[in-house]
């Protein structure tokens, strides 16, 4: 059994590994977990002793098979609870993260299994992020960003890179949500901002915004 802190580190390492390949630096963990670098170094030594990570001083850290398995379980719990909060308890998608951050540490294999079954074994959380199954297998998720689409392309929003409350509330305001169909109406050349059609309305999005939106079911205009 692991402490909450150990679990938070494992999850953070896992998430950084999804973005960056190679060893994860002390400073990136320090930033993600909002702790000082010295605290990270200390914890990495502990995780290394428990064989959850491969850690080489000065050269970063990577999950072992055992560490990855554990990280996937925490991600699974986090996302199942988020789904529960939104779909059953009337939470908005921008209010679930904090609470799921606590609930993900509840230890009870039966609880995870029964919750999953109660929810109908969902594949994606309220932010479109894939929920690992019992064996740690992740359903596939879209890799194309809105910023990569061409003029006239159609598609459907399937995920977001930034799950901050601020970004999610911005999306709410623009009527952009999971499964929202969109069409690229115009691309500004000098700053790559895009004009998008969403449910009859035209919306202007910055490159920063379009970089954080994942699109699937892409169809190019005939």
């Amino acid at each position: 059994m692991f402490t909450q802190s150990e679990e938070n580190y494992l999850k953070a390492i896992f998430q950084l590994q999804e973005e960056i390949e190679g060893g994860i630096s002390t400073s990136s963990l320090s930033e993600k977990l909002e702790t000082k670098a010295a605290s990270v170094t200390e914890m990495l030594k502990r995780l290394s002793d428990k064989e959850l990570v491969d850690y080489q001083k000065y050269y970063g850290v990577q999950l072992t098979e055992s560490g990855r398995k554990q990280a996937l379980l925490i991600v699974r719990k986090h996302r199942l609870w988020e789904y529960f909060l939104v779909e059953r308890l009337n939470f908005n998608w921008d209010e679930v993260h904090e609470v799921a951050e606590q609930l993900e540490h509840i230890k009870s294999p039966k609880l995870v299994e029964e919750l999953d079954s109660f929810l109908g074994r969902p594949e994606y959380d309220p932010h479109g992020d894939p929920i690992p199954d019992k064996h740690g297998k992740l359903p596939k998720s879209p890799t194309k960003k809105l910023s990569q689409l061409k003029l006239g392309d159609h598609g459907i929003c399937k995920g977001f890179n930034d799950n901050s409350s601020a970004f999610l509330q911005f999306l709410d305001k623009q009527n952009i949500g999971l499964h929202t169909p969109i069409e690229v109406l115009h691309i500004e050349t000098f700053d790559e901002s895009m004009t998008i059609k969403i449910a009859q309305r035209e919306v202007l999005l910055s490159k920063t915004a379009t970089d954080n939106i994942y699109i699937d079911n892409i169809a190019t205009e005939a």
Copy 2:
């Protein structure tokens, strides 16, 4: 905001105060929380500094108004989660305690309110224990023990003093549950054991058992 450990102490003091009047002793807390007396003394000093308890060295401890309010919230969360686990997630009543022991520490006022509403604002948990409402008000619960009934009395099981897995499984085996109607068929004079009628079957219960079963809707035979 309080630590998990502080919350566990507050709840333990609250529960001992329900049973015993007057100051709660260090040793009774030590036993209930399975920690050493020295650790209890230390924590009582901390809780006293935070004005959650009135503590007088050598003469026990009592909750302040603020401490009682906090304890009631933890009890509320514990019992709501137990209800959720049994009524929605197919847990048996003897498997919920451990998990609720963890879930009761999740901090989110919205979660408590929405969970309560989702569950239909239940008044009693799966063991018949009363669930405090939002304001800390407890619905009334039966005070008569089965051991206090007379020959020929009828009644309905409404709660249990011992929520241990062992006792609950014993009750399952005897087909005794919440809301089960019973009738006193015989009382043995020398050891106060009772023969009870439960759904056509006759069951013999020791004084230890009948002392741990609460009965309501008592009707004396005409």
